[in-house]
Amino acid sequence: MTADTEPDRLAAAALPPLDAAEAGKLRRARIDRIARWALPAVVMIATIAGWQWYVDAYQVPHYILPGPDRVVAALLQDWPTLWPALLVTLQITLGALVIATIGGVGLAVLFAQSKWVEMSFFPYAVILQVTPVIVIAPLIFIYVPSKIVGLLICAWIVAFFPILSNTTLGLNSADHNLRNLFQLYGASRWQTLWHLRLPSALPYFLGGLKIAGGLSLIGAIVAEFVAGTGGLGSGLAFKILEASYRLNIPRMFAAIVLISLTGIVIFASLSILSHLMLRRWHESAIKRDG
């Protein structure tokens, strides 16, 4: 009897075997992890291959549609002009994102202090948001002498709204009972803001920030298109304009690729930032079991 149960007990002590459903779940999770990277990569490779095949097979002139090989060649060859332009665009984008964050959070905190302030000014934030930046940009470049400042303003206008509206929502969605608790313990307005409302708003803010990251790149590019002037310190949008005047289609593609990559990198960085800040406590960052 005792001898009989001994191995069972040992096995149980080591690690009880998984049932079929759990084992399947584990296998699916492993496949999912690979597929998440592999599938988009396969689609990407297939698209590029198809593109190359189409261009070769139908002998499409390169000034209409260059093949991927020419785009890569342009990217390498024009790197000395594209790289500084990328840096300029990146500076505007990140600068605008920083100001949008400060401005958006600052305004949201101001709104949170007083319903009256919120009621008075929120509609204007909406107006600023719904008016396409491309129609405001020319005016801004008339009124603002510095091109850099003009670009920053344009990108800011596009980027700050999601931060403002999300943070405002977040500040107002602090748990009601926790607010009561703060009141009961005699918390000051500042303590409530700092220890309760801002942490409650963090996930909302980070969601807004992720949107704002992409928007500030769009804002920077659109504003550059409007600003249009060349010379020193012009960004990627201007390189695209310039290349289009010269029918240098491969360079246009190369610049577009760079802009897309920049957008992807910004989005990925902000997603990682968001995950790092929320992973200990927020539902969105927690892996579910089953």
Binding site: D175, N177, L178, N180, L181, F182, Q183, L184, Y185, G186, A187, Q191, H195, L196, P199, L202, R280, W281, H282, I286
Partner: protein, 269 residues
């Protein structure tokens, strides 16, 4: 059984707080409380028992200062007039923890709001966590705890200020019965040890009899006190009390009083 609401009770010695003819009408014309008088005496474990909507939470919130009475007075005999800080703690039905903060930080909160840094308050926070048996979970986050453990954290947070008066609004209603029994016992043990005054809102006759030495029964529409029962059973109470005749007798008395209260309600209730 004694009928409640002697208006002079508030001046009696050993009264922590008393509601004197308190009424509460909400802006939507709901009369949540009408002419409610109740004195809470030092060291009592009082249960407020009544049907849903009879104003138990409203009464508790008024005592806590989270809501103001429309008429009547709230009197704190032992305190200087105009004192704002009443040394109260409140436990809600939900654990109401800050998800972004560790168990330690959650329990530290009341002290932090009073300006005590984590370093200064460390011993007191750990002591409160020990009281509820969670000293090993100080660095955990609320989501890593079970429902019962979260409730314990919530209780530890209420105890960390060593309050004169502990207000609890159906604190265990969302828990399973086994966990509820265990927390009932823990709460009683702590109450006996430290001798606080507790006002405990519940809609369970059994829970109120098991825990308290006084049961205040309320009726709805309008919310008012209809009966005030003493539970003369010795502490410490344990599982054998739950199965005793004394317990079932008290349960029947409380249950009858509750039935009577509900029978007297307006028919639209």
């Amino acid at each position: 059984m004694t009928l409640a609401s002697s208006p002079l009770a508030g001046e009696a010695a050993g009264t922590v707080v008393s509601l004197q003819n308190v009424s509460k009408t909400f802006s939507n014309a709901t009369v949540a409380l009408k002419d409610m008088s109740l004195s809470i005496r030092q060291g009592e474990f009082v249960s407020l028992l009544g049907p849903s909507g009879c104003g138990k939470s409203t009464a508790l919130r008024i005592v806590a200062g989270l809501s103001s009475p429309s008429a009547g007075r709230l009197v704190w005999p032992g305190e200087r007039p105009g004192q704002k800080d009443h040394d109260i703690s409140f436990v809600f039905q939900e654990p109401t923890l800050m998800p972004w903060a560790t168990v330690f930080a959650n329990v530290h909160l009341p002290l932090k709001l009073k300006g005590e840094s984590a370093r200064v308050a460390r011993d007191r926070v750990m002591e409160a966590l020990e009281m509820v048996g969670l000293e090993g979970f100080a660095e955990s986050y609320p989501r890593e705890l079970s429902g019962g453990m979260k409730m314990r954290v919530s209780i530890a947070r209420a105890l960390v200020t060593k309050p004169k008066l502990l207000l609890m609004d159906e604190p265990f209603a969302a828990l399973d019965e086994i966990t509820r029994f265990r927390l009932n016992n823990d709460l009683l043990r702590l109450w006996e040890e430290f001798g606080w005054t507790v006002v405990f809102v519940t809609h369970s006759v059994f829970e109120s009899v098991y825990l308290s030495n006084r049961i205040v029964i309320m009726a709805a529409r309008p919310g008012r006190v209809v009966a005030d029962l003493d539970v003369d059973a010795p502490y410490p109470r344990g599982e054998e009390f739950r199965t005793s005749h004394l317990y079932s007798d008290h349960c029947r008395r409380a249950s009858d009083a509750l039935q009577a209260a509900m029978a007297g309600e307006a028919p639209d209730a």
